[in-house]
Each structure stands twice: as structure tokens, then as C-alpha cells.
Symmetry: C2
Subunit: 211 residues, 2 copies
DNA sequence: GACGGCCATTGATGCAGATCAAAACGCATC
DNA sequence: GATGCGTTTTGATCTGCATCAATGGCCGTC
């Protein structure tokens, strides 16, 4: 990633709500996020949408387009976001020059698959409370990894987005957040969240009898 | 894939229920399925399981292990299955000799990501009936691609497996299959399925108001 | 060919979470 | 600082599907 960045200097910024790419479009670029955040989503022919991920700086978007030469999902900025854009056509060239690049890309994709598997597990087998607890913990970890506070952060996505991502209704997200708050596990005010009792949150995320 | 097969001749066979690899194990091999079928699954610390895919001949397993050097999921034969096993350690060597190999692998992974996104859409946003209809249609397509009958086939997985994969209960799978049968869309007897009215099935898979 | 285990099917009941409805709040614009 | 819109929150009701329970069918084993 940092490697890519050092090679290709093409930067772009997107404002909240702007599209980076949409599903079906020709695969021209991969995107490395430098600042801000992005959501990716897929949709059914009849218009229902599933958000497949929220992406923060340091992550790479667009590689799933490789197989068919067109993007499989759409990507939209959640806030003002700056990216580093790399022409897909130049990737082959670059890979020739930098042998480790292809390996890096494979690692990224491999990691994406792993992450998707986790999400499937979440969507298929867990209660709404577990999903939300897991979600908050996951965010906390990701922020920690970027040297931000793991216990105090701002959500760049709406309750509706969170619900969609987790496969639950917007209202249920609110209700459960309230429940967590009453239990003294978190505090929220609008999009700002404080995780107060991470241990208890983890207990919620991992409880329930076996299947 | 065929490329791989031509290079590395290491073949193995597994009987119904045998493990190819399990989650957390060191990443030693990738597997190309030659005959039979395999299910892959991930699980929560507390033992709940989510099946992430059913795999048929021509498909490659294990690439998601690349990122962390260990398998993220487990793979188990659904019936007698023969595979072509390639040492992970040799992949780098091979990639040096055959430039297109890495590209092929990336394509496979990219395709896997795409497929996972579809499954997430399925798990997150669709009713049990739609899921099952979609599932049958998907199987039909895959069989057709391998020059098997797209309307008559045997399921190598149990109702329980199907339910787990689709995020619904075993009993619900049965009930809906019965419903489809009563509606004249399919006929089932035990693991043999005939798709009678594919058009109607497609209608079920894609209906319902938008979100 | 009878026993035992697994898988499939069907029925009855309960609940988590969707959906519908409406109020309260924050934020941007004028 | 009033207006209006999008977001969040809370309440009431409804329902799809899980869960519990029981029976029946198939297949392998002795």
C-alpha cells in the first residue's frame, strides 16, 4: 500500500455522497484511501442494497473488479475523502518492476476474503445484539491500529448504514444502542460514541449457546 | 487452474466427511478440485458454524490463507472427492516461471470476493423463499456450466447444510421445498431435485418491493 | 430381514426483530 | 432566530422464521 503510494502520485478527493465507482463500470483504477472513509455496496436487480464494507485510510478498493474487468460493487464517500488512484492498466507494468507488488495485492485480496467470511458469519448466525457489539469492537480495533482512540470515536456512517451493513433495521440499531447505553457499556450522542465497558461488550458479542 | 494441474501432479482423494484443512492450520497447500464436492465453513469461538461455500470440480480452495499464512476456514469433503494439491511454498517458484500464474490466482481470488459479496447480499437482505430459489438457480447454472443437466441433479449436501449456508433453519428449508413442490416449480425426492418451472423460480428469487 | 442411526418432513408455539407511526433533535439555509 | 429537512429515537403492532417435538423413511450393519 505505502509502496503503491510512493510510486503513483495521482490523488483525488471526493465529497460526502460522491461515487468513486459504480457496479458494472469498466475497471480502470484501484483506490488506496488516504483520508476520510468510504462505503461499498452491492444491490439486487430490484433495488435492494447490501453494504459490504466501510473502509478507512490505509485500505485498498476495487480489486474485486479484476476477475471480470468491471467493478462488482459501488463505492461512495461517507465524508470528504482523499484517495490515491492507480490505473489498472499500469498495474501489470508496475508488477513487472516490483516483484513484491503482486504478492502484496494477493495478500490484500486474501485479507478481503477473510473479512467477508467474518461478515457472512455475522449475517448468517448471530443475533442483532451480537452483531452490533461485534461491530463496535471491530471499529475500536481498527481505530486503535491507526493510533486513534479505541474508546472514543465518530461514526462517519448513519444508523441506517450500520443497520444495512449488519442486516438489521435502522430502528433496531437505535434500540440496541440505547440498551447498551442503559447497561453502562457505551455512551452515544448522535454520531459520537464512547466505549465504556469493552469487556462487557465483548461478552455480548460472543455469548449465546452453541449451534 | 488447468495450468496448475498440468504442472503439479500431486493428487489426493478424500472420503465423505474428511477434512482437507481446518481453520488456523498452517497454510501448506492450495487445492484444485478434480471430482466430487467440498464445503468450506468458518466458526465462532463458541462453536456456531457458518458454511461459506460449496465447491465443485474446477474450483480452487485455500487462497484466503495467503494473508496470514494460515487457513481461515475449514474444508470438508461432502462425498468422495479427488483434488490436486499444490504446495504453497512452491507457488512463488512457479509464479516466477509462469508469469500468468499470479494473474490467474488473483483472478480466482477476485472472483471469490465477488461471490462472497453475493452471499452477503443474500444473507442480509432476502427472505427465506428468495434465498432458496436463488440457491437452486445458482446450482443449476453451475451444473450447466459443467455440461450437466441444469434441471436434474443430486444435492451432495444435506438440508441442514443448505439451511446453514443460507442462514435459515433446516426445517424451513424443508417447508419451502415442499411449498415449491406444491406450486409445481420443482420436484424432490430425498437428494434428487428436478427444476420444473425455472421461470417461476426466478420470479420468486427476484421479487418483493424495493428497500 | 431386523435393528439403529441419520436425515427429512410436518405440526404447534413463541419470540426477535421488521414494520408502521410519530415525535424530538440537530444542522444548514435564509 | 425561524424554517425545513434529514437523522435519530421511541412506541405499538405484526409476522416470518426459529425452536421444540414427534413421526416417518432410507440406508448401512450385523
Amino acid at each position: 500500500m505505502t509502496l503503491l503510494e510512493s510510486i503513483v502520485k495521482r490523488k483525488e478527493t471526493y465529497k460526502r455522497g460522491q461515487l468513486l465507482f459504480r457496479a458494472g463500470e469498466r475497471f480502470d483504477f484501484i483506490y488506496a484511501i488516504r483520508g476520510g472513509s468510504v462505503k461499498t455496496s452491492v444491490c439486487t436487480p430490484d433495488g435492494r442494497v447490501q453494504i459490504t464494507g466501510f473502509h478507512i485510510p490505509g485500505e485498498v478498493l476495487g480489486l474485486s473488479a479484476l476477475a471480470l474487468g468491471q467493478y462488482s460493487s459501488e463505492a461512495r464517500a461517507l465524508e470528504t475523502t482523499s484517495v490515491c488512484r492507480v490505473e489498472a492498466a499500469r498495474l501489470d507494468e508496475l508488477a513487472q518492476k516490483i516483484p513484491s507488488l503482486q504478492y502484496q495485492m494477493m495478500k490484500i485480496m486474501s485479507g478481503q476474503i477473510r473479512q467477508d467470511e467474518e461478515l457472512m458469519l455475522l449475517l448468517g448466525r448471530r443475533s442483532a445484539e451480537e452483531r452490533l457489539a461485534e461491530y463496535l469492537i471491530g471499529l475500536s480495533r481498527r481505530f486503535a491500529a491507526r493510533n486513534f482512540s479505541p474508546t472514543q470515536f465518530n461514526l462517519s456512517m448513519s444508523r441506517g448504514d450500520i443497520g444495512n451493513y449488519l442486516g438489521i433495521a435502522e430502528e433496531t440499531v437505535c434500540r440496541i444502542l440505547t440498551r447498551f447505553q442503559n447497561a453502562g457499556m457505551i455512551a452515544t450522542q448522535r454520531r459520537h460514541v464512547s466505549l465504556i465497558d469493552l469487556r462487557q461488550l465483548e461478552a455480548v458479542a460472543r455469548m449465546k449457546p452453541a449451534a
